[in-house]
C-alpha cells in the first residue's frame, strides 16, 4: 500500500507493507541517517521526532505516522549550516563511529526545545534511552551542556 508521510517539511509518498515500521519507511525513502540498532526500542539509534517529541521509529508503525510531522537528522541542518547541537557535538568531539549520533542529536534537540537550560541530571535522564558503545557519554553530555549554556566552552 502507498502512504503519504510528512518528513522534514516535505510530503513524500512511500510504498509500505501494513506491518512496516516508520524506520523502514524512512530508510526506504533514502533517508539513511536514521539507524536501526536493536530494533526493539532499547538503543535509541532510530530516534526521530514525531510532532516534536522523540520516539523510537522502530516501534512505530509507518501507517500511524500519516498526517504527522516527522523530523529526521537530515532535516535538522538549517540554511546557515549545522544546527547548534550538531555544531556542539563536533566541537566537543562527541562522535566516534557515528552510529548513535543522529539519535543522540535529535533527542538532545527535543530536550533543549522543551527545556533550554537542563541540568546534567536532566540531560543524562533524557539521553538514557540512547546507547553509545564508543565514547562513554562524557563528551556527549558535554556537548548538550554546551548548548544549554549558550555555546560557551565547557571548562570542566
Amino acid at each position: 500500500m502507498q502512504i503519504k508521510l510528512s518528513i522534514n517539511g516535505q510530503k513524500k509518498n512511500v510504498e509500505i507493507n501494513p506491518g512496516d515500521t516508520l524506520l523502514k519507511a524512512i530508510r526506504r525513502l533514502g533517508l539513511t541517517g536514521t539507524k536501526e540498532g536493536c530494533g526493539e526500542g532499547e538503543c535509541g539509534a532510530c530516534t526521530v521526532l514525531l510532532e516534536g517529541l522523540p520516539i523510537n521509529s522502530c516501534l512505530y508503525l509507518a501507517f500511524n505516522a500519516q498526517g504527522k510531522d516527522i523530523l529526521t537528522i537530515e532535516g535538522l541542518k538549517g540554511k546557515n549550516g549545522l544546527h547548534p547541537i550538531q555544531q556542539a557535538f563536533v566541537e566537543e568531539g562527541a562522535i566516534q563511529c557515528g552510529y548513535c549520533t543522529p539519535g543522540m542529536v535529535l533527542i538532545s534537540k527535543a530536550l533543549i526545545d522543551r527545556n533550554p537550560h537542563p541540568t546534567e541530571e536532566e540531560i543524562r535522564n533524557s539521553l538514557s534511552g540512547n546507547l553509545c558503545r564508543c565514547t562513554g557519554y562524557v563528551k556527549i553530555v558535554n556537548a548538550v551542556k554546551r548548548v544549554a549554556e549558550g555555546g560557551k566552552r565547557n571548562e570542566k
Binding site: 501494513p18 506491518g19 530494533g39 526500542g41 523510537n56 522502530c58 516501534l59 512505530y60 508503525l61
Partner: protein, 295 residues
C-alpha cells in the same frame, strides 16, 4: 503475515471492528511491546492490526469529586509529567517516569501497559494500590472490574474477544493517605523492574494505620497483593519492628522466579528492601500532608 491496518478515529468504530468476524485482529495501543513481537508473527497466518492511536476519546483525563478518569490511550509520559497526578497519586507518577525511555514513554499508553500484563509492568502495582477500576467496553455495553482482578497470568487478562479497555477510574485518596512506588533495576534508567513495590496507607489521627494496600510486581505470574502483610500493618504505626513483620509476610507471599535479570533469592531480598523503603516513604507522605489537608 500482517495484511491490513485499521485506524479508526472513533471508539464506536473501533468496537465494531473489534467485534467483527474475519481475520484475527491484534489491538495495537502504543505498540512499544507489541511491535517487537510482531516480528515473530507466523508468515502463514493472516493478521490485521486494529490501531487505537487515532482515537481522541481514549486520551481523556478528567477529575470529578470521586475519581480521576484516565482514558486507556493516555501516554505514559503524560502521566509522568502531570503535577496534579503526582500530588494525588504519587506512586502512579513515580512508576510512569521510571517506565522505559523518554522515546518509549512518548508512545506507550496506560491501557497498553495494563493489557500487556507483564508481571513487571511498572504501572500495575500502583494501580492496584489505588484500587483502580477498569472499564471494559464492547459494542454491547460495558463492565467494570477492579484492576487486581484483571490479571490472570503473564500476558493473560480478563478481556473478552470483543472488548477494549477504555477507561481507568481511580478513586481520590482519603484524608491521611500516603503512597509510594519503589522499583529496582540494574541500570538507573530504562529498566524492566527486577522488583516493583507499591504501597498505600491511610493514617488515622493517632498516626495509626487504618488502611493499607501493598502490591508487588515481578515476583509472581501477575502483580499480587500482600493480604497478610496488610493485616499486620493495620493498627500499627509502622515502626521498624512492625515493618520487619510486614516484610517477613511479603516475602512469604512473593513467589519469585529465577531468570536472566535476577535470581529468586535476590528478588526475595529486594522485596524486603523496597517494601521497607516504600512503607517509610508512604508514612512520611501521609504525615507530611497532615490530617484533613488532603485533596
Amino acid at each position: 503475515m500482517i495484511t491490513n491496518c485499521h485506524r479508526p478515529v472513533h471508539l464506536e468504530k473501533a468496537l465494531d471492528l473489534r467485534g467483527a468476524d474475519g481475520p484475527k485482529k491484534l489491538v495495537v495501543a502504543g505498540g512499544t511491546d507489541l511491535m517487537v513481537r510482531l516480528q515473530e508473527v507466523d508468515p502463514e497466518v493472516e493478521i490485521e492490526l486494529l490501531l487505537l492511536e487515532g482515537i481522541r476519546e481514549l486520551e481523556e483525563i478528567s477529575w470529578n469529586e470521586k475519581n480521576i478518569i484516565l482514558g486507556a490511550g493516555v501516554k505514559v509520559e503524560t502521566i509522568a509529567r502531570d503535577e496534579k497526578i503526582f500530588k494525588t497519586f504519587p506512586g502512579l507518577k513515580e512508576a510512569a517516569e521510571q517506565l522505559g525511555s523518554w522515546q518509549v514513554r512518548n508512545l506507550a499508553t496506560l491501557g497498553g501497559n495494563i493489557c500487556n500484563a507483564a508481571p513487571s509492568g511498572d504501572l500495575l502495582p500502583p494501580l492496584i494500590v489505588y484500587d483502580a477500576k477498569l472499564e471494559l467496553t464492547s459494542s454491547k455495553g460495558n463492565r467494570v472490574l477492579p484492576a487486581e482482578d484483571f490479571f490472570l497470568g503473564p500476558g493473560m487478562i480478563d478481556l473478552k474477544e470483543d472488548e477494549l479497555l477504555t477507561r481507568i477510574l481511580i478513586p481520590l485518596p482519603e484524608k491521611g493517605s500516603g503512597s509510594r512506588y519503589e522499583k529496582f533495576g540494574i541500570r538507573e534508567a530504562m529498566e524492566i523492574a527486577i522488583v516493583g513495590v507499591g504501597v498505600g496507607v491511610v493514617l488515622g489521627k493517632e498516626g495509626k494505620v487504618e488502611k493499607a494496600r501493598i502490591a508487588l510486581g515481578a515476583v509472581a505470574p501477575t502483580p499480587i497483593r500482600v493480604p497478610e502483610g496488610e493485616k499486620i500493618a493495620i493498627g500499627s504505626t509502622l515502626e521498624d519492628n512492625q515493618i520487619k513483620e510486614i516484610i517477613r509476610s511479603a516475602k512469604e507471599t512473593a513467589r519469585p522466579i529465577c531468570d536472566i535479570r535476577s535470581s529468586e533469592n535476590y528478588r526475595e531480598d529486594l522485596v524486603g528492601i523496597l517494601l521497607g523503603r516504600a512503607l517509610k516513604k508512604a508514612k512520611e507522605r501521609a504525615l507530611k500532608k497532615g490530617w484533613g489537608k488532603c485533596k
